[in-house]
Symmetry: C2
Subunit: 337 residues, 2 copies
Amino acid sequence: MSGVTTTTQQITLAQRPTGLPDDSTWSLDTVELPDPEDGQFLVRIDHISLDPAMRGWLNDVRSYVPPVQIGAVMRAGATGRVVTSRHPDFAEGDAVTGTFGVTEYAISDGTGVSRIDLDVADAPTWLGALGMPGITAYFGLTDVGELHEGDTVVISAAAGAVGSVAGQIAKARGCRVIGIAGGPEKTAWLREIGFDEAIDYKNENVFKRLRAVAPDGIDIYFDNVGGDILDAALANLRRGARVVICGAISQYNAESLPPGPSRYMSLLVFRARMQGFVVFDYEDRYPEAIDAIGAMITEGSLQARETVVDGGVAAFGDTLLGLFRGDNTGKLVLRVD
Amino acid sequence: MSGVTTTTQQITLAQRPTGLPDDSTWSLDTVELPDPEDGQFLVRIDHISLDPAMRGWLNDVRSYVPPVQIGAVMRAGATGRVVTSRHPDFAEGDAVTGTFGVTEYAISDGTGVSRIDLDVADAPTWLGALGMPGITAYFGLTDVGELHEGDTVVISAAAGAVGSVAGQIAKARGCRVIGIAGGPEKTAWLREIGFDEAIDYKNENVFKRLRAVAPDGIDIYFDNVGGDILDAALANLRRGARVVICGAISQYNAESLPPGPSRYMSLLVFRARMQGFVVFDYEDRYPEAIDAIGAMITEGSLQARETVVDGGVAAFGDTLLGLFRGDNTGKLVLRVD
């Protein structure tokens, strides 16, 4: 293969968006990748992960990861197959997952790349329940939230990639689980996968419904959305509650910093804490989460669901907007042919 | 003394305020107290504590203590001397502290009342550094904030009753301590009592000054004020920081719920937590705090300061307004003659 190049389409960041990304945010480029060098391998991508956190990576601010640079390939988790390898740990044909970016092919040195077992689950699930979202749900609940049997657990964006796994883990650990999601289809699905209650924030008053279904208060609120729903939860805590700050999808596209949670003094009234975390800090313990979630999938106590969109890397921009509209149920994945 | 009554002036709640309390909030009543019954004693009050938390007690909402009822004596900590006693644990002449209310005399059954040693410190100090404010500072820092030697600790309302004790405890435990207060007199005093840095929020940009004096970030932010200063601190945290929510004096008189901390997502970026507490939960451990602070006073490593206002219970309403204007340095106390 020496001297052979591989043609790939990829999405690069053309300019930083204000508010929602649009066509001017992205550039669809066709480039030639060189043959892998010693210690590298070439991957053909089959599925790309779409994550709310991507919006934050576009802002030129100090955060838990550096922003994506203008002209760089858009950062994204993905799954694929090794095409050619000069790396000792990866062989041609291996199914792998890693942060390969929004691209059809990628050259990797193996950093942050893992082999995946497609007998346990299909590739999209390795980007969802068995990928970052599932691992995030696991450590957010068990570690940051200090999940205990019997807790009343409330989860926002509960029909999303993280929330749907978090709810099923809490349920399996003997908790009462209340999900908040947008629209009757999503809430119906939450009940189907075992949530005790499901609140449709588009058609119900979340504050009142929380008070009704959790009259003794919330032990863990796992927040993926921020905004009014965070306030509604804060006003309904139980003493000693843990508010896990996993994300704030309602705020990511705001053009100026939105007001914070007015009800934060509930933390004092209820002797509660609100704590943020970043899943990357748990890298050493990923296998623990993957084993636990994998076992639940195998034994049938966890339903992994993905919304898979066709169209290849060219469809990335539109598909990402769907994520912020809440089009997806479960993990949103872009298929690359 | 059987059949003898005691005439006392006291402040009762006439109506709940919207915004700042005013004359219509309070009623100054003269009542006759009966002779103490078996298991009771009569106290002559000499000093009354004024606390920011009082404003919250006036609102008819569920909180960590029930609201003061219309017509009831205003709740307040106080010190005094036992005049007559039919209680086995308290004798005539004992110096005591308890939640006696804004009154000249009170009948007590001893609940929540402690004897105080005026050889250790004068009565006003028993309402300040050796009272609820000092105990609040102690547990807020050591327990909620998990104070460690070498931490960078930032304290708002640092020249107040709680903040000034918190800062001196942190300093004694080997921390770098930065205080935020209003006006050059207060910041000068903070430097005098050992704060490493003092920021005057009335004349300086708190965000920029925090970035300058704590370039590596804040380990503990002990918040007594809320509002913009809380946001400035959140934006300057260090990884793993603890934000201790002790109070929010900037918000207590707001006529509608003010916006919360816009920068709360810093909790995620910095893997930090924000936690509220109520000192009453530590009642079993009050002696630990009082012993520690008392020892610091005795050895000279803690300066207890009070602003003592004359005028008796009739001056309560005006004196409380001074608290919200920030008139006091150290603990604000009303003397009752």
